[in-house]
Point group: C2
């Protein structure tokens, strides 16, 4: 798998896959062995924890799925893109960005997610 | 230095400092020893390379300075914020975001920058 858009879209498909063995297969395909996934509420290292994180999120947001909401901006094996978490009625429950890093073989070694828009300039 | 806004604003002051010894002092203050700074055109590891990167950018954009253009969004020692590269007449030449990681002691171990807005959803 060398196309970054395919990698990212397969990574998102992993979040959306309710079947644990199928999800593990997706995670094995796109994630490096020691990969780390860090979201505001969650921090997972390794494929098993990453797959468990998806199950936790699915339980928290029943009927939802992730869609990619932007193109992918890439340099030096680092990338970013926007995503929406979409409810079964098509409304967007949560938006955010993921910033990632690829290993030399094109698998994902790191994803750091941020939710919502950037805070206003006077917020910190 | 434990306040993240102070750390980030001092990091930006390093970009803006034309005096090499003063800039090295700022870089020593906010960056971890093996820190890595990855921008679309540049990739620097360690304080010397990071300080040299600032000199390169200052030569490329004379009279410019960086300002923080958002609040700072932080979780799990990871953070993001927006910045503007401002010309001497006050116009914005370039905007972008930096995504960073802190070491346990609060120094910056990693900054990954992205320029401009995210690409449109059909761009990749």
């Amino acid at each position: 798998m060398t196309n970054l858009a395919d990698t990212v879209d397969t990574y998102l498909a992993g979040w959306n896959e309710p079947d644990a063995p199928r999800r593990a297969g997706i995670v094995d395909q796109v994630w490096a062995g020691g990969g780390r996934l860090i979201d505001p509420p969650l921090d997972a290292t390794g494929r098993d924890q990453i797959s468990d994180m998806a199950a936790t999120l699915q339980a928290q947001f029943p009927g939802h799925h992730f869609v990619r909401a932007s193109g992918i901006d890439e340099h030096h094996n680092h990338f970013r893109f926007a995503w929406d978490l979409v409810a079964s009625d098509g409304s967007v429950t949560l938006s955010g960005i993921d910033v990632g890093e690829l290993d030399a073989d094109g698998t994902i070694s790191r994803i750091t997610g941020f939710f919502g828009a950037l805070p206003a300039a006077d917020a910190s």
